[in-house]
């Protein structure tokens, strides 16, 4: 993504990390008369923890009210409807059920229920076996009872981030990718931030929303010393043709360590099962393992017996940044004008809109002047997707732009025009285009459309074949020209 300010420009706020937290903070700040820049070390936004997670808007019952994360979760969950109306990312309140398979699990369910009530969650319900099977007929008939949170929902996490970033950009926020903040020093009232490639910029305030790498960023600024550890979660994705797709998100009864492995009917019609939860030493390790994948299938089948390995179209893993039990969102006590937004593991996605609000308040308390910007427009123009529209509307669209008639990804019904739109919005890697448009994400996993996307990408950007990557430098797709 390009830069409108020259290198060395001065910003009011620099946000490091363009995941779901950074994106929410950036968009929130875009309502004010501020020069804001959103930075990320990767080739595109949402390429870290935010792209590989369960995509759940949680029900507000998993955590006790003493935690900041419980408060932000409940508050954030309530903000999704308005964000969805304004930004149009895929989101649906399909409801969450927690299924108990043994009588003794009902004690925990009872505790979850009371936690939810205490957190102020509306509509939460204790359920009998019959009620559970009525709510979710695909559940294991051995279910003994459970919990129902009707307001829980599902969201496509990367498209949530993309739309937040796009909205922020439309309201003046600058985005710079492939910018790895490596070193920072004070220069008067400013932070001077140097990137790994030698470029630099200055900002009055810095928000550290660097996810798995928040500890490194904190160190680069001479702020608090802490260690972010990575907890890996592996997933399977099932074809939209599967017969095992539930109507609601299905949770097992949680243990003290994790919320357990879920069955998620994604907003796009596929089914996600997982995640595992395993501490790893390598923050970049997103490999899946045979044992864990078998475990996921076993666990998912315990809840929904009709899940079949024949429906699997892909597997993947994501890393969650683990710091302490609660989120760590506060100004540094060691250095000025530096806010930590660290250790944002689950329910970070759900809480993220509230985190945006919370960080805006922290910045204000730290002395940032917030003046409403008159031209602020919260609404993103609708982006047509062939997948969503009928033949008549499609015909009208093709009349406007023939690119809509050229179906590039047949599995997910993505047209050339949508791919061009993704590229023009700054998504110039194969993965970026995939997350933005869903092309390559269906059952053939890019077997048919990859070469077409390569050609469109070269045509639209003028990049040579040797600069086409899967997800940034180092992941080049081609190694030679005949």
């Amino acid at each position: 993504m390009g830069s409108k300010n020259a290198a060395g420009g001065i910003f009011d706020v620099a946000i490091i990390g363009a995941g779901v937290c950074g994106a929410n903070i950036a968009r929130r700040l875009s309502q004010y008369e501020l020069d804001v820049i959103l930075l990320d070390k990767e080739a595109d936004v949402s390429f870290g923890t935010s792209k590989a997670n369960s995509g759940i808007v949680h029900g507000g019952f998993h955590h006790g009210s003493k935690y900041l994360k419980a408060r932000l979760e409940v508050q954030g969950a309530l903000m999704f409807d308005r964000l969805h109306r304004e930004l149009g990312f895929p989101f649906r309140r399909c409801g969450i059920v927690v299924a108990a398979l043994h009588e003794d699990e009902m004690r925990v369910v009872d505790q979850l229920y009371r936690q939810g009530v205490e957190n102020g969650v509306i509509g939460i319900e204790m359920c009998s076996r019959e009620r559970m099977l009525e709510l979710e007929p695909k559940l294991n008939p051995d279910t003994v009872g459970g919990l129902y949170a009707p307001a829980g929902g599902i969201v496509e996490p990367y498209r949530f981030v993309f739309s937040l970033v796009e909205s922020a950009q439309r309201n003046g926020v600058e985005v710079r990718t492939s910018f790895r903040a490596e070193k920072a020093e004070r220069e008067g009232d400013l932070w001077k931030i140097r990137a790994a490639d030698g470029s630099f910029l200055s900002a009055r305030y810095v928000v550290n929303a660097a996810g798995l790498f928040a500890d490194e960023v904190s160190r680069a600024f001479g702020a608090e010393e802490y260690t972010i550890r990575a907890r890996k979660g592996e997933y399977y994705l099932l074809d939209r043709m599967t017969r095992a797709r539930p109507d609601r998100v299905v949770f097992p009864v949680p243990t003290s360590v994790s919320k357990g492995m879920l069955v998620v009917p994604t907003v796009e019609g596929t089914v996600l099962i997982g995640p595992t939860a395993e501490m790893t030493d390598d923050k970049t390790d997103t490999a899946t393992t045979r044992e864990h994948l078998e475990m996921i299938l076993g666990n998912a089948r315990a809840m929904i017996p009709s899940i079949s390995e024949n429906d699997v179209i892909t597997s993947f893993a994501g890393q969650r940044p683990v710091l302490e039990e609660d989120f760590y969102i506060e100004p540094s006590r060691k250095v000025p004008a530096f806010i930590h937004v660290a250790g944002i593991q689950s329910p970070g996605l759900t809480a993220s809109p509230a985190i945006g609000e919370y960080v805006k308040d922290l910045l204000k308390e730290s002395g940032l002047r917030l003046v409403e910007r008159p031209g602020y427009d919260p609404v993103l123009p609708e982006r047509p997707r062939m997948f969503d529209i009928d033949h008549y509307r499609a015909d009208a669209l093709v009349a406007e732009d023939p690119g809509y008639g050229n179906i590039v990804c047949r599995c997910e019904k993505v047209s050339e025009a949508e791919i061009v739109a993704a590229i023009r919005a700054g998504h110039t890697t194969l993965d970026g285009i995939k997350y933005f448009t869903r092309a390559q994400m269906g059952r053939c996993q890019g077997g048919f459309c990859t070469y077409k996307i390569l050609k469109i990408l070269m045509r639209e950007t003028g990049m040579g074949w040797d600069r086409i990557t899967k997800r940034g430098a180092g992941s080049e797709l081609l190694s030679g020209r005949l």
């Binding site: 994705l237 809509y404 008639g405 179906i407 180092g474």
Partner: protein, 416 residues
């Protein structure tokens, strides 16, 4: 919305689609092919190697030559073809079917027909389908995608490749990658015997000293941004010996792990599929359970020779034309896949007319016997010098073979 009307529409303009359309036209009916690519011939155009056409054209051709000769016949037939049209929907409208084709050039085409021949071909199984764990770096391609990149676009997807699966496309790509200047470090096959033709083992692997790892499971793909290695483990006495796993350094992985008929559209129309083939169940005329919808070629079951695809599709086209003319089916017999037979296509025969069936066996055997039994009485018995699952077998049944069949008779095909 542009509206078109024909007697029949064929979805897909590869070898199957063109062959079916030819026969429909030959019967004096109007016919249109709707093809999503901007050329006819389908996947044949990227199969630039030779070995096609020995049956259909009585000479050995490359894929593009086979396609072009088929296209010349097709053009001469007077049938229409719309290119760059992806059929997204087929609706039932009484005695007609309405197809919705998406196209940049024509907008949305609404095509009304009496009957449809499905000829969409197949797609490659991918990494997710066979659940190879590990990292997700750049450099993992299906063999067919790599073939497209090398042969049509002119790009080399990597310099050091490992090929997973010993299907013919994988073997052909082992040779192609070697010819294009890459080093192929091995072909990994989970079964104890190769899935591809012996001829390809010799000419694509032995000619280039490429090791073939039989009875090996791929246990992981490793790498950061780009593939760095593949890990494989031997299978001994039916058990994977994970402790004997080893890694082969490479920057590219090509997957040749089977093909699946592409029936998403068929399923939407209510066509029922045979779980053995992932293609539709059909009667002896290649008609699916939905009246007026026929299927042929790789969308019905995955073939190993395009010549068989064309032959089967011609029968489907002719049957489709007869159906449109109102020639109803005669009495039909169910065909049972007996011992050592994985499936037969079609799975019904008509006792009043000659029938041709294709089948696949479950076993590898020399000096086998193919037996056709009508109600447990052997009506045909043929010696087969060699059979294996990767080589399709054809059976012809004459009315005399089926004489005496009653309404509840069952025809069984067995391999002994």
């Amino acid at each position: 919305m542009r509206e078109l009307s024909y007697d029949a529409a064929v979805i897909g303009g590869g070898a199957a689609g063109m062959a079916a359309a030819l026969e429909i036209r030959a019967a004096g009916l109007s016919c249109v092919i709707l093809e999503r690519e901007d050329h006819l011939g389908g996947i044949l155009l990227q199969c630039v190697h030779n070995g096609f056409g020995l049956i259909e054209f009585d000479e050995e051709l490359s894929g593009p030559e086979f396609a072009e000769r088929m296209e010349e016949r097709f053009r001469a037939s007077g049938a229409d073809a719309y290119l760059g049209v992806t059929v997204m929907d087929v609706e039932d409208a009484g005695d007609r079917k309405v197809l919705f084709g998406y196209s940049a050039e024509h907008g949305i085409l609404r095509v009304s027909v009496r009957a449809v021949v499905l000829a969409m071909g197949c797609r490659e199984r991918n990494r997710g389908n066979i659940r190879i764990p590990g990292a997700r770096p750049a450099g993992v391609y299906t063999a067919g995608l790599a073939q497209r990149l090398v042969n049509m676009e002119g790009y080399l997807p990597g310099k050091d490749a490992v090929i997973i699966g010993s299907g013919d496309i994988g073997l052909i790509m082992a040779r192609r990658m070697s010819w294009a200047g890459a080093k192929v470090h091995g072909v990994v096959e989970i079964l104890p015997y190769p899935s591809g033709l012996t001829r390809n083992i010799v000419q694509c692997l032995h000619d280039f000293d490429i090791p073939l790892y039989l009875s090996h499971l791929t246990t992981g793909i490793f790498g950061g941004d780009r593939v760095e290695s593949v890990e494989i483990a031997p299978i001994e006495d039916g058990a994977v010996r994970f402790e004997k796993a080893f890694r082969i350094p490479c920057d590219t992985v090509l997957l040749s792990v089977g093909l699946v008929p592409e029936n998403e559209l068929s399923k939407k129309m209510g066509v029922e599929l045979n779980p053995m083939t992932n293609g539709p169940w059909t009667d002896s005329r290649m008609m699916t359970n939905v009246p007026g919808i026929f299927a042929a070629g790789n969308v019905l079951h995955v073939h190993d020779l395009v010549d068989y695809v064309a032959e089967e599709a011609r029968r489907a086209g002719a049957a489709c034309a007869r159906w449109i003319r109102g020639e109803g089916p005669g009495r039909e017999l169910r065909v049972k896949a007996g011992p050592n037979v994985r499936y037969t296509a079609p799975c019904r025969v008509g006792p009043e007319s000659p029938n041709k069936l294709y089948l696949r066996t479950l076993i590898v055997k020399n000096d086998a016997v193919l037996e056709v039994r009508l109600d447990n009485r052997v009506v045909q018995s043929r010696k087969k010098a060699h059979i294996q699952p990767s080589e399709m077998i054809s059976v012809t049944l004459d009315p005399k073979d089926l004489a005496g069949a009653g309404p509840d008779s069952v025809l069984e095909i067995a391999i002994l």
